[in-house]
């Protein structure tokens, strides 16, 4: 499918959902707009534009490869995906295990899997980075980072 058609359709569907959700909030009247009034207008506005984008994607463009698969051709998509998943783990672990331990583990895996560092190097960099940021933000700037099972 064409790039713009995919993104346009996606936004159109999202826009219609937004409009529907806004109507559930009471639109009010022009004289006294309700809480759903403004989000409804915003939703209408971008659904309309998304529709225009979908329509314009049917106008053929010359000399341009615009299939969705072409967006990820020739790039290493595994690396951003791994980094994204590791960040998700970070969020899930942060308040349970504390800042220091979570950062150490996630940074270590990031360096190992995304950047292919050796065990030793990855451990050294992740340990010193977590320790330094801990000292800077927790000890010096008192940022109240989460304390986990280790109590630090």
């Amino acid at each position: 499918m064409e790039v713009d058609r995919v993104s346009g359709l996606f936004c159109l569907i999202f826009g219609v959902i937004c409009m529907y959700a806004s109507t559930q909030l009471s639109l009010g009247s022009f004289r006294e707009p309700g809480p759903g009034f403004f989000p409804f207008i915003a939703g209408c506005f971008f659904s309309l534009l998304a529709l225009l984008i979908v329509i314009s994607s049917f106008i053929p463009e010359k000399d341009r490869e615009n299939k969705v698969s072409s967006l990820w051709k020739g790039v290493n998509w595994r690396r951003p995906l791994t980094a994204g998943l590791l960040l998700l783990c970070y969020i899930l672990m942060l308040e349970r295990m504390g800042f220091l331990l979570t950062s150490l583990i996630v940074l270590f895996l990031m360096l190992r899997w995304v950047e292919k560092f050796s065990w030793g190097k990855a451990l050294l960099i992740s340990a010193s980075a977590s320790a330094c940021t801990y000292l800077l933000f927790q000890t010096l700037l008192k940022a109240n980072l989460p304390i986990g099972i280790l109590g630090i």
Binding site: V3, S7, C11, G15, A21, L25, S26, S29, F30, R31, E32, P33, G34, P35, G36, F37, F38, P39, A42, G43, F45, F46, L49, A50, L52, I53, S56, L71, W72, V75, N76, W77, R79, P80, G84, L87, L88, Y90, I91, L94, E95, F99, S103, L107, M110, L111, V114, E115, F117, I125, S126, A129, T133, F137, L141, K142, A143, N144, L145, P146
Partner: protein, 497 residues
């Protein structure tokens, strides 16, 4: 008398040792994060915001402002030496700055960037100082319809100047507006799209969104390809541009300053767009445009002066109207309110020492930046020698801490990650995040002013056309839309950058 009277009031505040120290810290940190790719001024401001709680309001704002305009200085260094813009406002500087460095002219490139930034920044503050008092008087006449139409105009200009499709940019603005409505409705108190998550009641955080859309998305994109950091090894000897360099770039500096200041005044346009436009203009007026992209010094001077002039100009609507032109200033406004000060037209009357002190501190800060930057370039280069594979996990870690520390909530971190993925996909599908985030920032003000106007006029939309300032803004906005619909004109204006 007023000009100098205000200047003296301001300088006496700015030159107190305590304020001087924090002004210095601000511009130093600003330059540093400007140098580091990925970690922007918005993130830094929010990380350091809690640190300022114990300070007097003036000192806090002086330091935070220093970070905001200092970042524009640092960004150019990385653009020129490594071809990686440290700051979105320095993307254009890469084009000719890096080429100059490869030709062994890194020194003059850095020099003209620093001097250009200094000149434009200082001129910007002078104009700000002259413009602020009359503008405050105009601003006092601003009612809800005027605010609404002005913000609409700003958003239309932003989408008009968008690099790619204006249709897509407009749609992004619409979507950003929608995201801005998440949270408790300020008038009825009804929870909107919060999914019963308490963290959403105050709305989605600007900072995690900015960090996600720009910082995290950038990292994802960089990870797709293997980055080779090629630091130009040519010795950075003489930083002073030659007489010929000055002659070549003098008009570029002037035009860059003017363009930067004018665009910097508009909500949404800001530093980034001013660099694109000023570069395009230089290319248009140049006698030999083919040298652009191959190390033309005008190509460094124009955008660098533009982004600094824009950084100063952004303070005008912020200090007089309370409208943030870019997300960074939205955080600065938040800082003002946290210190118990209401931004807007009354600020100058109620807190003259803060108002003029902050403006005067910017003169001082600009001098500091010039003095600081020239000798420290060697240090920044060393910071950049840290290889990207080590640098990016560190930047990620800073972003994670920044997102968490604002509200001590993992929900904010999750918003950041979500926006990171969103920003990555936007970039892939050629949508621009700038109109999205700007509309998001302005959305609550847009909504309040729309609803107030309608309540005031008994539900008649004519109110936007009967108020002259509002009508003027709307006419301008529709002219832009009509122009954009006609083929060729908009392309001529923005397509050449």
């Amino acid at each position: 008398m007023d000009f100098f009277g205000n200047l003296i009031t301001g300088l006496s505040v700015a030159c107190e040792p305590y304020n001087l120290l924090f002004c210095f810290l601000g511009v130093f940190i600003g330059t540093l994060i400007g140098v580091l790719p990925g970690l922007g001024p918005s993130a830094t401001l929010s990380i350091l915001l809690p640190v300022t709680f114990g300070m007097p309001a003036t000192t806090a704002i002086i330091m935070l402002s220093g970070i905001a305009y200092g970042a524009q200085y640092g960004g150019s260094t990385t653009s020129i030496l490594v071809n990686i813009p440290g700051e979105t406002g320095s993307v254009i500087t890469c084009l000719d700055g890096y080429q100059m460095a490869r030709q062994g002219r890194a020194g003059p490139a850095l020099g003209i960037a620093a001097f250009g930034s200094f000149i434009a920044g200082t001129v910007g503050i002078i104009v700000l100082q002259i413009l602020a008092p009359p503008l405050v008087n105009v601003a006092l006449k601003f009612g809800a319809p005027e605010y609404f139409s002005l913000m609409i105009l700003g958003l239309i200009i932003l989408t008009f100047l968008a690099e790619k499709s204006m249709l897509k940019a407009l749609m992004m603005a619409g979507m950003g507006t929608f995201f801005g409505t998440v949270g408790l409705d300020s008038i009825s108190g009804v929870a909107r799209f919060t999914f019963d998550i308490p963290d959403f009641f105050d709305g989605l955080g600007i900072v995690p969104m900015v960090m996600g859309l720009f910082g995290i998305a950038e990292i994802f994109l960089n990870l797709e390809k293997t980055i080779k950091t090629e630091i130009s090894d040519g010795k950075i000897g003489n930083l002073l541009p030659t007489l010929k360099d000055w002659v070549d770039s003098k008009w570029a500096l002037v035009r860059g300053t003017v363009i930067g200041f004018v665009l910097g005044l508009l909500p949404g346009a800001g530093a980034v767009l001013s660099t694109f436009v000023s570069y395009a203009v230089e290319k248009m007026v140049s006698k030999n445009p083919q040298k652009f992209g191959h190390g033309a010094i005008e190509g460094v001077a124009a955008p660098e002066s533009a982004n600094n002039a824009a950084a100063s100009a952004g303070f005008v609507p912020m200090l007089t109207l309370g409208i943030p032109v870019i997300p960074t200033y939205a955080i600065l406004l938040g800082a003002l309110m946290l210190h118990g000060i209401t931004p807007g037209p009354m600020l100058m009357k109620q807190h003259p020492d803060l108002f003029w002190g902050v403006i005067a501190s910017m003169y001082v800060g600009n001098v500091m930046l010039l003095v600081l930057n020239l000798p420290l370039i060697g240090l920044w280069v060393r910071v950049l020698r840290v290889p990207y594979p080590i640098l990016f996990p560190l930047i990620l870690l800073f972003c994670l801490i920044g997102a968490y520390a604002i509200n001590k909530s993992t929900v904010d971190v999750a918003i950041m990650l979500f926006c990171g993925v969103l920003g990555y996909l936007m970039r892939k599908f050629e949508y621009e995040p700038a109109p999205f985030i700007m509309a998001f920032v302005l959305s609550p003000m847009l909504e309040t002013s729309l609803r107030r106007s309608l309540a005031f006029s008994n539900g008649k939309f004519m109110i936007f056309f009967t108020h002259p300032i509002s009508l003027g803004c709307l006419i301008l906005a529709s002219l832009l839309l009509v122009t954009a619909a006609l083929p060729g004109i908009r392309e001529k204006f923005v397509g050449e950058a």
